[in-house]
């Protein structure tokens, strides 16, 4: 059975998720526009670190490196009414395009993994109106329909889609909110 959610349901669960996030020192933030709430997290990692000395200033080390930044937005898709992930990825100050996204999320050039393009798309962010990549929401309702007993459908969604598809990992400590007394 496929499920859908209202913006009000999403807002309540998003706030609950934020509270948990804070408790486990995760860095999710809240953004809000006209009663539409969405969750934001920036994830960074560094590549190729090469220290460089400065001839004019012997105390200075410049680290030649590539910084990757992925901004994840979790929001309720305005027409599908299911949570989905919008994201953009940057290398230093450059936006990474859809062709290179696979290099970011697929460890090896595994052909089969290119199937992520069956699920990823790019479209305008429904709240910010800027181009973002997104997990296409067409099957999300169906998948979440199998987990109707969850306490927080946003967490269920994130654990199902985040790690395998777009490198978004939830720290194990979130478990502790789900263990029954």
């Amino acid at each position: 059975m496929s499920v859908t959610f209202t913006q009000e349901q999403f807002n309540v669960k998003a706030l609950e998720f934020l509270e948990m996030s804070e408790k486990v020192h995760d860095t999710w933030q809240k953004e809000e526009k006209e009663n539409t709430l969405f969750l934001v997290k920036n994830y960074k990692f560094t590549f190729k670190k090469e220290p460089l000395n400065d001839a004019d200033d012997i105390c200075a080390i410049q680290m030649l490196s590539e910084v990757f930044l992925i901004e994840y937005h979790v929001l309720l898709h305005p027409s599908y009414k299911v949570p989905t992930i919008y994201f953009n990825a940057y290398k230093n100050d450059k936006l990474i395009d859809l062709n290179d996204i696979k290099l970011l999320f697929c460890d090896d050039y595994d052909k089969e993994k290119y199937e992520i393009y069956n699920l990823l798309s790019q479209s305008e962010h429904p709240i910010l109106f800027r181009p973002f990549f997104m997990i296409h929401p067409c099957k999300i309702g169906e998948v979440l329909g199998k987990f109707t007993e969850t306490r927080n459908f946003i967490i269920t969604f994130l654990t199902l889609y985040g790690p395998s598809l777009v490198g978004l990992k939830l720290n194990n400590e979130y478990e502790k909110f789900f263990i029954k007394d």
Partner: protein, 542 residues
């Protein structure tokens, strides 16, 4: 004795989020316009699961009442947005840096740095926004004084080497209760009890500062955004403050605690550095040298460039998204589809009528970038309902179809390269009078020139004979030719045959045999005319 090792700091790396540039261009267009005066902005850094040694700017950097996320620290910076690339290139960067440096000295001297230690971190962003090309040129500087030079006494250690678990745990809970501004720099004693700078140091009685402290169990702490073995740049300014305000430390060895948190916010990643301050320190403001301009990603002292056209330029966005559908189709359904080949084909359409309009739109949707029309007619009132590139107003103005169609393509997709040529195609059986002779020769020359410039010819005119000349020229210049014709109850689409040498040299691949499908190789195809039984002639009179 071995030579003393200079203690090194790792410089901040600026990370500017794209929404910063969106905001900057909004502010420039709507508020600041040509105003070049300094603007205060905010940057953030964190020591929680720190990556690299980053100072980040985003759209909130412009907020006047800046609030940062719970685990982040913020610092104030100066933004100078210049109006021309020349003023950006020639700007006296050292003077600006010196000004910031002097300001840093002032806040150390007057005690405001002790009250609000995060003010010790300051930065400069020099920008030039080329809003036509959506290019943002920028240089960052993280203000620091070259002096004092300090030395490493012994290799760094982990926090657990010096302190008990219990001490660290207590320290962690009081550290997490600290105000963000105070947590940037502070002092800790033997069991890691925290003393705020404002309580430890008095700018008016410098000789007394830290007099009662046993330096062996005094830890100068800072929240360290570096993930590297080196201490972050910001420690430089803390050292400067210490030598300014605590003469007692000159020549002494001191312990630095670099507070670093892992993703669970535990402080176990924290490091201890053991350094020695010099004996004689020249701190005369006149002699002080300031440093901190950031190098680009290649390690050169040059500005960085953020090109934002992909997310700001509406024309680029349209181009990008129209290609996106094709890419998704390729990825999902036809992995062997070579979109680039299609995209690069330059298409010449003979006829901008029902077929010409429809094919031009199809070509657009397949990502073709070059579309040229040849047509001699004007938009008539019967056209707009069938010919999808025209409107009623085109008919009212009696526009040429070729030019109207190409103008409309640009309205649909501004990045398309298109033109319309109002040309009559000479036809067999249609006599050319003496008065039209020169004009006709000129037309032929123009048609030849256009055919040479294109890769694919589409024959979409409303008569048989007008396809004759382009067919012949298409064979002669070895172009791909596609004929399409539409009748009330019939239609025809065919590709003209190509010469043998071309077909096989170009592909070199064997044609795959599909059972039940009869496939005629391209070199064995005829053209529109050799597949017909009558020769072209003037059929208008009948």
């Amino acid at each position: 004795m071995s030579e003393k090792k200079v203690f090194q700091y790792v410089q901040f790396k600026s990370l500017v989020h794209h929404d910063f540039w969106h905001k900057l261009s909004d502010i420039k267009l709507d508020i600041e316009k040509l105003n070049e005066s300094d603007k205060t902005i905010f940057g953030t850094f964190t020591n929680l699961n720190a990556k690299n040694c980053l100072l980040e700017l985003d759209c909130t950097s412009f907020n006047s009442n800046f609030k940062t996320a719970k685990n982040n620290f913020y610092c104030k910076g100066t933004l100078k947005n210049l109006n021309t690339i020349e003023s950006f290139k020639n700007f006296n960067r050292n003077e600006l840096l010196k000004k910031e440096g002097e300001n840093l000295l002032r806040i150390i001297e007057n005690g405001s740095a002790c009250k609000n230690p995060s003010e010790l971190i300051s930065f400069i962003v020099l920008t030039y926004a080329d809003l036509k090309k959506y290019n943002f040129h920028y240089s960052f500087a993280f203000t620091a004084s070259i002096e004092p030079l300090i030395y490493e006494v012994s290799p760094s250690q982990n926090i657990t080497d010096e302190f008990s678990e219990n001490d660290i745990e207590n320290f962690s809970s009081s550290y997490h209760l600290l105000d963000q501004q105070q947590a940037a720099f502070f002092i800790a004693t033997k069991h890691l009890d925290i003393i705020l700078l404002q309580n430890a140091l008095d700018v008016n009685q410098r000789d007394m500062n830290l007099k009662d402290h046993n330096l062996d169990s005094t830890y100068f702490c800072f929240s360290d955004p570096s993930e590297f073995p080196y201490a972050a740049w910001i420690l430089r300014n803390f050292i400067l403050l210490l030598v300014k305000l605590c003469p007692i430390l000159h020549g002494k060895s001191i312990k630095i605690l670099s507070v670093r948190r892992d993703e669970k916010s535990s402080l176990l990643l924290s490091k201890l550095f053991f350094i020695q301050l010099p004996n004689k320190i020249d701190l005369d403001p006149i002699n002080m040298k300031w440093t901190g301009w950031e190098r680009n990603d290649q390690g050169k002292l040059l500005p960085k460039l953020a090109n934002m056209s992909n997310s700001m330029d509406p024309i680029k966005i349209a181009e990008h998204f129209s290609m996106l559908n094709l890419k998704l189709m390729k990825w999902r359904l036809l992995p062997n589809l070579n979109l680039d080949v299609i995209k690069k084909q330059k298409c010449l359409l003979f006829g901008a009528g029902t077929l010409g309009c429809a094919i031009a739109r199809s070509l657009l949707s397949w990502g073709v970038e070059n579309i040229t029309f040849i047509d001699y007619g004007n938009v008539s009132h019967s056209n707009p309902v069938r010919q999808s590139l025209f409107t009623h107003s085109d008919a009212m103005q009696n526009k040429f179809k070729a030019t109207a169609a190409s103008e409309r393509l640009i309205e649909i997709l501004p990045s398309v390269k298109t033109s319309g040529h109002v040309l009559q195609i000479p036809m067999p059986g249609h006599q050319v009078g003496e008065s039209m002779r020169d004009k006709t020769i000129e037309n032929i020359e123009n048609i030849i020139k256009l055919i040479q410039e294109h890769d694919v010819l589409f024959l979409l005119t409303d008569s048989r004979e007008s396809r004759w000349l382009p067919t012949m020229l298409g064979v002669y210049y070895e172009k791909t030719v596609i004929t399409s014709a539409l009748g009330f109850d019939s239609y025809l689409v065919m590709r003209h045959g190509a010469k043998e040498k071309e077909t096989f040299q170009m592909t070199g691949e064997k044609i795959e045999e599909i059972p039940g499908l009869k496939c005629i190789p391209g070199n064995k195809l005829g053209c529109y005319f050799c597949n017909d039984v009558t020769a072209p002639g003037n059929y208008y009179p009948y």
